[in-house]
C-alpha cells in the first residue's frame, strides 16, 4: 500500500510530466492563457490518463509483453508482440478519447460543456501517450500501481498548467521587454518553475 502512495506522490511532484519530462508542452503553452480553460484542460488530461494508462497496462501485460500470451497455452508462451506496443497504445488512446467524448456528452452534459472542446485535442497530447510509455518502462507490478501513477501524473499536469495560467494572468500587468512577450517569457517562467519543483527531489 505504501509504495502505491509513494508512486503517487513521486509522479505528482518529482517526476512531474511538465517540469521533468516536458510532456504535453504544446498544449501547456497554448492553453495556459487563463485559469479557467487551463484547469478545464488539466482535468480532462487527468481523466483520460486515469482511464488509458490502466487499460494499456492490462493490454501490455496480457497481450504484448514477451511471454504474455502464456495464458493461452504453452504454444503461445514464446510469442513476443512488443513491437506492436506503440501502434496499439495510440489506437487505444484515440479510441478511448472518442468513446469518452460520446459517454460524457450523453450522461454528463455539464462536464461536456466544460471539457468539450478539449477532449478531441487530448488524443494528440504527448502527456497521454507518454504516460502509457513510461508505464511500460517502469514495469509496475499491479494495475493499482499503474492507476496511482496515472492519477498522479494527471494531477501533476493539472497543477503545472493551472499555476502557469495564474502566473500568465498576472504577467499582463508587468513590463516585459517587447521581443520577449508571449511565448518567450512563458518558456523562461516554466524553466524557473521547474527549478522550483526540483526542490521536491529530497522527498
Amino acid at each position: 500500500m505504501s509504495d502505491i502512495f509513494n508512486i503517487f506522490i513521486r509522479s505528482v511532484f518529482i517526476d512531474n510530466m511538465v517540469f521533468a519530462y516536458f510532456l504535453g508542452m504544446c498544449s501547456y503553452l497554448a492553453v495556459s492563457k487563463n485559469v479557467k480553460t487551463a484547469s478545464g484542460l488539466g482535468m480532462a488530461v487527468c481523466f483520460v490518463l486515469a482511464i488509458t494508462v490502466p487499460v494499456n497496462y492490462l493490454i501490455n501485460k496480457y497481450l504484448l509483453q514477451p511471454g504474455a500470451l502464456a495464458w493461452l497455452g504453452d504454444r503461445f508462451a514464446q510469442v513476443d508482440l512488443s513491437f506492436l506496443g506503440l501502434i496499439i497504445f495510440i489506437a487505444v488512446i484515440a479510441g478511448m478519447v472518442q468513446l469518452l467524448e460520446m459517454v460524457i456528452e450523453r450522461y454528463m452534459p455539464a462536464l461536456y460543456m466544460a471539457l468539450g472542446i478539449f477532449l478531441p485535442l487530448i488524443a494528440v497530447n504527448c502527456a497521454i501517450l507518454g504516460g502509457s510509455l513510461f508505464m511500460q518502462e517502469k514495469n509496475f507490478p499491479t494495475v493499482a500501481h499503474s492507476f496511482a501513477y496515472a492519477i498522479g501524473s494527471g494531477l501533476g499536469w493539472l497543477l503545472a498548467i493551472t499555476a502557469m495560467a495564474a502566473i500568465r494572468e498576472r504577467l499582463k500587468y508587468s513590463n516585459i521587454p517587447e521581443p520577449l512577450r508571449g511565448n518567450g517569457i512563458a518558456y523562461i517562467i516554466t524553466g524557473l518553475m521547474g527549478m522550483g519543483f526540483m526542490a521536491f527531489l529530497g522527498i
Binding site: 504544446c26 484515440a94 504527448c126 510509455l133 523562461i188 524553466g191 521547474g194 526540483m198
Partner: protein
C-alpha cells in the same frame, strides 16, 4: 525553392509556431541524441506527409485523425526498430521520446495544415523542411547545453584540461531540464529582437 525555406527561420516550428516542444527539450542535454532525434523527426515528418498527400482524396474526413495517427505510428515504429538495431546506446538514451514522435504536434500539424491539401512533392519538401527547422533549434540548444554543461561536444572534450586546473568548472545547471526551457526562451528573445515582434 524559396517558398520551402520558411520553416527554417520565418515559420520555425518551435520558435514561432510552438509546435513539438515536448521532445525538443528532453533530448538536448547532449549533441548526439539531439542530432539523431532531429533526423528521426525529419524522416517521419517527410514520409508521413508524402503518404497522406498521396491518399488525401480517399480519406474520409471524419476518421482522418485516426488514419493520420496510424500512418505516423507506422513510420515511428520503423525508425524505432532501426535505431534499436543499429544505434542501440542512443536508442536507450532517447527511451520513450522516439515513441513520442507520434504525438509530436509538428507532424500532426503539418499533416492537417499542408499534406491534406497539397500534391505529394510539395508535401514531401514541406515535411523535410519542417523537420530540419525543428532540428536546427534542437542542435543549437544541445550545442550550448553540452558545451557549457559537460565541456564536451559530440562526446569529445573541447574545453582544454588546463582550464580546469586553473579553476574552471562545468555549469551543472545546464544539464538539468529547466535550462533547456530558458535557452529556448532566450532564442525567442534574440529572434524577436532581430526580426521585430510578431504577436
Amino acid at each position: 525553392m524559396k517558398k520551402y525555406l520558411g520553416p527554417l527561420s520565418k515559420d520555425n516550428p518551435i520558435l514561432v509556431q510552438t509546435l513539438g516542444v515536448c521532445s525538443a527539450l528532453a533530448v538536448t542535454a547532449q549533441l548526439k541524441p539531439a542530432v539523431v532525434m532531429a533526423l528521426s523527426v525529419t524522416v517521419v515528418c517527410a514520409f508521413s506527409n508524402l503518404i497522406i498527400s498521396l491518399i488525401r482524396n480517399t480519406i474520409p474526413p471524419r476518421i482522418r485523425i485516426i488514419v493520420q495517427l496510424l500512418i505516423v505510428s507506422f513510420w515511428v515504429v520503423l525508425v524505432d526498430l532501426f535505431l534499436q538495431a543499429y544505434f542501440y546506446d542512443i536508442s536507450k538514451l532517447l527511451s520513450v521520446f522516439v515513441g513520442l514522435i507520434i504525438t509530436n504536434c509538428i507532424i500532426m500539424g503539418r499533416l492537417e495544415a499542408f499534406a491534406l491539401s497539397h500534391k505529394p512533392w510539395p508535401s514531401l519538401m514541406d515535411g523535410v523542411m519542417n523537420g530540419l527547422g525543428y532540428g536546427l533549434v534542437l542542435v543549437i540548444v544541445a550545442f550550448f547545453r553540452e558545451l557549457l554543461g559537460s565541456g564536451t561536444l559530440w562526446n569529445y572534450q573541447v574545453i582544454p584540461k588546463a582550464l580546469y586546473q586553473i579553476g574552471y568548472l562545468n555549469n551543472g545547471l545546464m544539464i538539468l531540464p529547466p535550462m533547456a526551457l530558458i535557452l529556448v526562451g532566450i532564442m525567442i528573445w534574440i529572434r524577436g529582437e532581430r526580426k521585430g515582434v510578431k504577436e
